[in-house]
């Protein structure tokens, strides 16, 4: 079975968010980039399923410029077999979805996995767009994924519960915990990753449909108002009379 795992390259969780002086772009200066934490669930689960099947391949796909390659190598070190990088900045969800759909179609992948959303843009859009472009089912967000032959059984989170869904390959799933315990690379993986194939392809498809006009930071908090523990009941009065939330 051929697994395609889509990863994004995102600022590390602890990054202090700042923008270029015109507020049109994220300021990458001095920022450490990581594999999107949600995508780690997709990657590890694909590797686990491949191992359980005793065959098949896991291909990792990233839409990004050359500076994303360290994290693509990291994904290879975690256990993917080969990688494809579409050589373009990820302009918007639709643009990225077209690149993924194109690679998926050419490679005839059976299972296309990605994280629920990226922690930078928080779009939660790409899964459905890829599914629709390819005319195949999407399951989002998936908390559990098991395969039996060509049939996948998934748990999809819905507000207030979950649905048990069965789909046949090919399909798209956007993954979240508790699907698996994401793996970290070991020394052997890091060594072998250096020589695994990483193919670079040029983007195709239509123009993006959205553009960021401006980024802004949220207004600063006023600072915390502390209430002495022995007077805890006072907090409830403040929440009612001052903050007006209860």
């Amino acid at each position: 079975m051929k697994f395609l795992v889509c990863i994004s390259n995102v600022p590390d969780t602890t990054t202090k968010i700042a923008f270029t002086p015109d507020n049109k772009e994220f300021n990458k200066a001095g920022v450490q980039f990581v594999i999107n934490p949600w995508d780690e669930y997709a990657l590890t689960r694909a590797i686990e399923l491949k191992e359980a099947q005793g065959g098949g391949t896991v291909t990792v796909l990233n839409v990004g410029e050359a500076d994303t390659e360290p994290n693509i190598r990291k994904a290879l070190a975690i256990g993917a077999d080969d990688a494809i990088r579409v050589n373009a900045a990820p302009k918007d969800a639709f643009f990225v979805a077209q690149q993924i759909a194109n690679v998926a179609k050419e490679g005839a992948y059976d299972v296309i996995l990605m994280g629920k959303e990226s922690i930078d843009y928080n779009g939660f859009q790409v899964h459905g767009m890829v599914g629709e472009l390819l005319g195949i089912p999407t399951v989002a967000p998936a908390m559990k994924l098991d395969m039996s032959g060509n049939t996948a059984t998934l748990e999809r989170e819905i507000e207030g519960g979950k649905e048990i869904v069965q789909v046949n390959t090919p399909f798209v799933a956007s993954c979240q915990q508790p699907m698996c315990e994401p793996r970290i690379p070991n020394m052997r993986g890091i060594m072998t990753a250096r020589t695994k194939p990483l193919k670079v392809v040029e983007p195709t498809g239509d123009a993006p449909r959205t553009a960021v006009a401006e980024y802004a930071l949220p207004p600063k908090k006023q600072g915390v108002k502390l209430i002495p523990a022995e007077n805890a009941g006072e907090l409830i009065k403040l929440l009612r009379n001052e903050a007006k939330v209860i």
Partner: protein, 325 residues
């Protein structure tokens, strides 16, 4: 053309987030000099759908096909696309929920529409452009996004828009069939498992949340969290370490890789405030932190704080709420 609003219903009722979506849609319609039509999904009653008039909706389309009671991605997408075609809608508004994101993303490709999710404000339409403000960087920033093209889909973040309540206004409920076939239900769920909700309040829909971390010392102490939650009508939640060790179920985990909430009130009990946790709660309107460690980073993100032992403070708070009412 009217603005099309997707309202999600459950157990006959329109979800709170969909009342917000309906209010958003009707205000956009007003800006554009048109009307707002809703298409309802899930289990609804005609009386509750008619009440969407209070949110400014003029007409509600409802397909009574029983298999639409549960979320089916293929069927919902086709139903909404058909409703958009019938109403000649250029703008579709839905909730930024799991259903809204699943359907909205597919629809954007099918209808060749631009899509913005996680939207927190009404659009700005100066000079012919259409710009919406959305949350980005896990609550650490906002982005003004320009939506191109003739058709646009907007997924509205929960608890960002005040629901309208114009008492006495009713919407006309019209039965509607999207001519769904068995093939549209191919990805129907085999089974739907609903959670046992403490106090009956769904975490993603809640406007108040009481949340516990490792400082609660064990699942046996959660009655303190539940008592306060019940007293103020809040949902309960927890931090990632708590769900990782199974003190609480995963669906209560708020944080970067869990649920993102933006309630009016978030009370954090014994949670230090790791950056991953803040990513899930930092758009809450009022944050209260109770922690015995005055250096806990969460205090920096809080509006109100109590430096003290949760086992001492929580019962006092619950008692104080009871004395108010």
């Amino acid at each position: 053309m009217s603005v099309l609003v997707v309202v999600e219903c459950d157990g006959g009722e329109v979800k709170k987030s969909s009342l917000e979506v309906a209010s958003y849609g009707s205000q956009v319609a007003q800006m554009l000099g048109t009307t707002a039509t809703a298409v309802a999904v899930g289990e609804a009653t005609e009386a509750n759908l008619a009440k969407l008039g209070e949110q400014g909706i003029s007409k509600v389309l409802y397909d009574a096909e029983p298999r639409l009671k549960d979320f089916v991605n293929g069927a919902y997408t086709k139903l909404i696309a058909a409703a958009a075609q019938k109403e000649d809608s250029k703008i579709i508004v839905l909730a930024n929920s799991n259903i809204g994101a699943s359907v909205g993303s597919r629809l954007s490709v099918r209808l060749q529409a631009s899509l913005a999710t996680n939207v927190v404000e009404l659009p700005k339409t100066d000079g012919g452009s259409f710009v919406v403000k959305r949350g980005a960087f896990s609550g650490k920033a906002f982005a003004d996004v320009k939506l191109e093209g003739e058709r646009k889909i907007i997924a509205v973040k929960k608890n960002s828009i005040e629901a309208l309540h114009e008492a006495g206004k009713t919407a006309q409920v019209e039965s509607f069939s999207a001519q769904l076939t068995d093939a549209d239900f191919a990805d129907a769920p085999k089974q739907v498992v609903m959670q046992d909700q403490a106090g009956g309040i769904l975490l993603p829909e809640a406007d108040k949340v009481v949340s516990g971390g490792r400082g609660m010392k064990g699942p046996e102490n959660w009655n303190l969290i539940e008592d306060l939650a019940k007293a103020i009508g809040a949902a309960t939640a927890c931090s990632k370490p708590v769900s990782d060790v199974d003190w609480r179920p995963h669906h209560e985990h708020v944080g970067q890789t869990g649920i993102t909430v933006s309630p009016n009130l978030y009370i954090a009990c014994g949670i230090s405030g790791a950056i991953q946790h803040l990513a899930g709660v930092n758009s809450s309107k009022v944050i209260v932190v109770i922690n015995k460690d005055p250096e806990a980073p969460f205090f920096k993100a809080a509006d109100y704080g109590i430096v003290g032992d949760v086992f001492d403070v929580l019962p006092k708070l619950t008692q104080a709420v009871k004395e108010l009412s």
